[in-house]
Symmetry: C2
Subunit: 194 residues, 2 copies
């Protein structure tokens, strides 16, 4: 998606070499709703003709993307996996562990209520970034626990220099990314794959 690449080039903030890319001006902190709707349309094009009963994502950044994309998928329900088990959620949940690559590196659990994910449901996974693939692997695990059918993963930005994309595709999951970053540094900027 050329417009996405352009916005990453113009607005993305890079720190380190292949380390941090912030796209906080339109995706992860401030959100550009009209642009997210376009991203949703681009996802629908990538998964043209693929039946989708439900979009499954993960808090926090996935939610806005999934809600904005839903109209392009016939306004199917959006389900987001939660990160902390608060008193507001019942006990009957699918749980999976996510390895963390942030500062403290403590793994955390995500969960989805069994009430909202069912055998045979055709689920499209959606997230902002695909890097190490640990969050996406946990979403796949949860979908499989439920007996749901994973139709694919729709990703806004894939970092191809990290192993997530390969890992998830090796599980037989179709991954479609709108921008694939091969390399990034403060010096060179963002270099896209292909």
């Amino acid at each position: 998606m050329d417009k996405l690449k352009q916005r990453i080039r113009e607005e993305g903030k890079i720190r380190g070499v292949n380390e941090i890319l912030k796209v906080d001006s339109f995706l992860n902190h401030q959100i550009d709703p009209a642009f997210l709707t376009e991203i949703g349309g681009a996802f629908r094009e990538k998964f043209d003709g693929v039946p989708v009963d439900k979009i499954l994502t993960i808090e926090t950044s996935g939610i806005g993307i999934a809600v904005a994309a839903a109209p392009a998928f016939g306004n199917v329900p959006v389900l987001f996996a939660k990160k902390n088990k608060t008193k507001n959620i019942a006990g009957d949940v699918f749980i999976s562990q996510v390895e963390s690559f942030t500062q403290d590196r403590r793994p955390y659990n995500i969960f989805v209520s069994k009430e909202f994910l069912h055998p045979g449901e055709k689920v499209l996974l959606m997230d902002d970034f695909l890097a190490n693939g640990s969050a996406l692997a946990a979403l796949i695990d949860i979908a499989q626990q439920a007996g749901a059918q994973v139709m694919g993963a729709a990703i806004v930005v894939e970092k191809t220099f990290q192993p997530g994309g390969k890992l998830i595709r090796e599980k037989g999951i179709r991954v479609e990314s709108l921008a694939r970053i091969a390399e990034m540094s403060e010096e060179k900027g963002v270099i896209f794959a292909e």
Copy 2:
């Protein structure tokens, strides 16, 4: 908003007396995107003619609502306050503390990058629930730190038996809620105000 009250009556799960209301089937875990769009339209009606430059909300549940509501407000940017300071955010932020009424009751900080909130900006606050008002008070604090103008707070569900609504209105902030719950219990169900 009658349809909202109806869905709360039919799908809401109550625990205790005036304690927990879960609307996980369409708002807080699973999201009904078309219904959230209707909620956005209802917010626009409530704030008819009020100029809005930006919607300010807070992760997690506010994000889906704000993104779905944005088209009714001319697709203004959505900015969500973050709860954890990870390495993905720069140092230059507005911070405010939120009192917590969940199990562990530890207060937490929310923050917004100074880059995305400016003096004079007309900001509409948005959130799913208004109960004790601590999250909303922190959003107001952040908007005021930025010198932004708070045009009001658009709330999906207000619990009028808790002090938040009164507290926020006493600050001179206009609060509009689509459903106001006066009382709730497993025995009586949900009783709406007015």
